[in-house]
Structures are given as C-alpha cells and as structure tokens.
Point group: C2
C-alpha cells in the first residue's frame, strides 16, 4: 500500500528536499538573484531538465523556499514565546520571596505583586519574540531578504504563503491578547479614524481575538516597525548611523511594547 507506493513518493520527497537544501545553500551563499536551477542540478549530479519534474519553474522553487523561510521564522518566534510562557503559579520555581509574614500581608498587595510579575512576564515574552526574530534574520539574511525584501518581479504571493507569513504577527498579537485578558494592557486613548477602526474590528473578528481597535492598530504598527528595524539593519541602512545594533534594537522593542500598552511595572506601582 503506502509502503509500496511510498517507495516512489519517499524518493520524490527526498529529492525534493535535497533540491531545496542545495537551493538554500546557494541562496545563503549568493542571494536569491543568483540562484540558478542549473547550478543546483549540477551540484546534485542531475540534468537540469530533470529538476523541472520537481519544480515547474524557478519561481516555484523560490516560492517553496519562501514558505519554508516563513515557517522557520515563525517557528523560531513561537519557540521563543513558549520558552517564556507564563509558569502556572508553581511555587518554588521562580525566585522565592521571603514568606516570613505568612499571609499577614494584605491580599491586595500580594495580588498587585502577582500582577506585576505577570506584566513583567508578558513584556519578557514580547522581547523574546522580537529578539528571536532578529536572531533568525541575522543568521539567515538572504532568506530574510527573500521574504521581507522586494518581491520577485512577476511573482504574486500564492495563498499558501499567507498563513506562514502571519505566524510572527500572530505571536505578537497573542502576547497582547493574553495581557489584555489578564487586565494588564493599558489601552491607549486616542481618536482613531473610522476606517482604521473598521479594519481593526474585521481583523479581530477574523483572528477571533478580543482586543480594542486602538491596540490592534498599534500592534500592526509595531509589527511593521519591527521589520522596518530589521530591514534597515540587514540592508545596510544603519551603516554609519547605528553601531550598537543589538542595544538599539532591544531599546526600540521595549518602546514598541510600551506603545501597544505592555508597560513594564515598577517594583511597586506603575505611574
């Protein structure tokens, strides 16, 4: 059955993967523009024409690489988020504070401290996602350029790319959603154009996420700024302008978190 007919299909998927691997290698070495089907075939020891059995055109190979890159980046972001997932109030796992007074402290203060810890957690998650995205981009600059640089000329993103492309955006929105559900989000009070509100509501409904339109709008802005910063850094726009790239990025990301309402709480009270 699947084992017999699988022989071919497994060989096919293996070769497909080998082609993509070799293509990725050339991509990392020379960039998307210099990726050559013939060179890939040559390196794999097959005729160039045979490659067309696996990818009907060069653009299709690129599309496959794009999807993979989106998924790799999205996976990196989600991994960072999950590594900073909120621990379910397990005692003893985090920094144990002196419990000398037992429950003598007013419950309100304890709650406030828990809130502060949760808020800090949300902020850490936000920063972790952003840093993971940056790390991935720095490690795979050409793949980053492939997905966030100029689109290839005649190419219109097929539907298969839109879902992987949304993963980091969704991760960021998720952090905000959780914070909002926990009442940790300071909603910005600003007048919003009706059209923007409509877009935000539609987006919130489509993603099934409960967030004020203003927050959603700012999230999209933060999303764009995140990749604006990365594109500028990777594409050389920061040359002779920003030298401490990492520190600047960290700083900008924290400010970004603040702009969507994720505030870093002071030790006791947030002003």
């Amino acid at each position: 059955m699947t084992a017999i007919r699988g022989a071919r299909e497994r060989a096919r998927s293996e070769i497909t993967e080998a082609i993509k691997d070799e293509a990725r290698k050339q991509l990392a070495a020379e960039g998307a523009a210099k990726l050559s089907l013939r060179a890939v075939a040559r390196e794999l020891g097959m005729a160039s024409s045979a490659l067309y059995r696996y990818f009907p055109s060069r653009d299709d190979l690129l599309t496959a690489l794009i999807v993979d890159a989106y998924n790799a980046l999205g996976a990196a972001a989600e991994r960072a988020r999950d590594a900073h997932a909120e621990p379910p109030a397990a005692p003893g796992t985090t920094t144990r504070r002196p419990e000398s007074g037992a429950t003598s402290r007013p419950e309100k203060a304890a709650r406030g401290e828990a809130r502060a810890r949760a808020a800090e957690h949300a902020l850490a998650q936000w920063c972790a996602i952003c840093t993971a995205v940056r790390d991935w981009a720095l490690a795979h600059p050409h793949e980053y350029a492939l997905i966030y640089g100029s689109p290839v000329p005649g190419y219109h993103a097929p539907h298969t790319t839109t879902e992987p492309a949304a993963r980091v955006g969704l991760a960021l929105i998720g952090v905000a959603r959780d914070a909002h559900a926990a009442g940790l989000l300071k909603e910005p009070a600003e007048p919003l154009p009706d059209a923007v509100v409509a877009d935000a509501l539609a987006l919130g409904a489509e993603l099934d996420v409960e967030l004020p339109p203003a927050v959603l709008a700012r999230l999209i802005g933060a999303w764009a700024q995140l990749f604006g910063l990365l594109s500028f850094e990777l594409f050389g726009q920061f040359n002779r302008v920003v030298e401490a790239r990492g520190a600047f990025f960290e700083q900008a990301v924290r400010q970004l978190a603040g702009s969507v309402g994720l505030v870093a709480p002071g030790p006791h009270a947030t002003t």
Copy 2:
C-alpha cells in the same frame, strides 16, 4: 572651450540620460531583476556593447538609478517640508483672528497660542514629509523596492549613495530640531542604554544637531517604522490585513510624531 569640447560631453551626458530613462522605464514596467542591458540598448537602437561605454556594468547602471531614486525621494520629502515651512509671522497671511481687544489680552496667553500654532505647524510638517514619501513610493514602487528592498547580491553601496539616502531622515530630524529649538519638544524620560546614548551623541555631533539622545533614538526608530510601514504596504504584507492603507498610515505617522515628542496641542492646553 566648454562649448566646443562640450559637444562631445553634452552628447555623452545626453545619451547617459537617455539610457537611464529607458532603464527607468523598464524598471517601472518589470522590476529591477528583469532590467536588461541588451533590452535597453535594443530600445535605444544601439548595440549592447556600446552601452558599456557609459556604464561599465549592469550594477553600475543600477547604482546610478539608486542614487537618482534616493534623490528623487529626498527631493519630494524636502519639497513637502518647504511647502509647510513656518511662515515668518507675516500678518494677514494666515487665518486672521479678531483683534478686537487689541493688546488687551494677557501677553502670556498670546504666547501660548503662538506656541500652539507653531507646534501644530511642526506636526503638519512631519506629516507632510511622511505623506510625500508614501506618495512617491506608491507612484514609483519599483524604484522604491530598488532602494529599500533587498540589496542586489554582490553589491555594496558605494559612498555616493549614502548622502542622498540620508535626505528624508535628515528632513525628519530637521523638523524635530526646529521644534526642539522652539521648546516645543516633549523629551521622553526613559532609561537609555549607554551604547545607544553614545550612538545618538555621535550622530548628533556628526549632523551638528542639538537634540537629546532619547529623541534622536526615537527619531531613528520612527524613521525605520516609516519605511517598515511603506515596505509592508508595497510588498503586499498588508494584504487582507490593512485595507484602509491611507488612513492607517496617517494614523501611524501621527503616533510616530508623538513618540518623538511632537505633540498635537489641544485648543488651549496640552495635558
């Protein structure tokens, strides 16, 4: 002299310009990747080899186009800024307010109103620059992709591009500088990493501009976000996410202005 020997040189510069024009046409039609020297030569009725007398390689042609694009974009931004330049308190030019009471009003209130008007002007200038940049980008998407998309593979920006590339950034910084000089800038009080402060100070010294490091850092962030927004809009990342692109952009730009300290004053007082 220059008129006689200019015969050749004028012909040369004319042909150079014709080549760039035709290249721009193909760029706008098909994108940078499909720009072909042979096609340009064909369209101009000359042998492809003749073209190499004017541009030693395809990358050099692209570089010339990049410089031109940076300059066109920068000029558009500066034009928008100058069109919204602060009128030198010429009476009768702006909305004339009723002077019934002559100088009966307290001087302090009049000054406050002038400050509010100036602040509004700075904000208008900021928004005008950003909108002009967006308009240019929407009108010349491929040229925008050429300068703010993925860099061409083997290509490292020569020194001639750095100056034109800085023009819109400088325009934005100029607005902030003027506002700061007029005492209209609300400096953000936030802890800044030392390395970022150092970069900001170095940049401020190099540009000879008096601005607090925090403002400069936020200006760079705003600069990156501006082009992050545009890249996302132009490269299709906003498909099925943001529909009211213009309104969203306007809104984001206003928020950006606020983040660098350019506050839109209320009719009488700023909270």
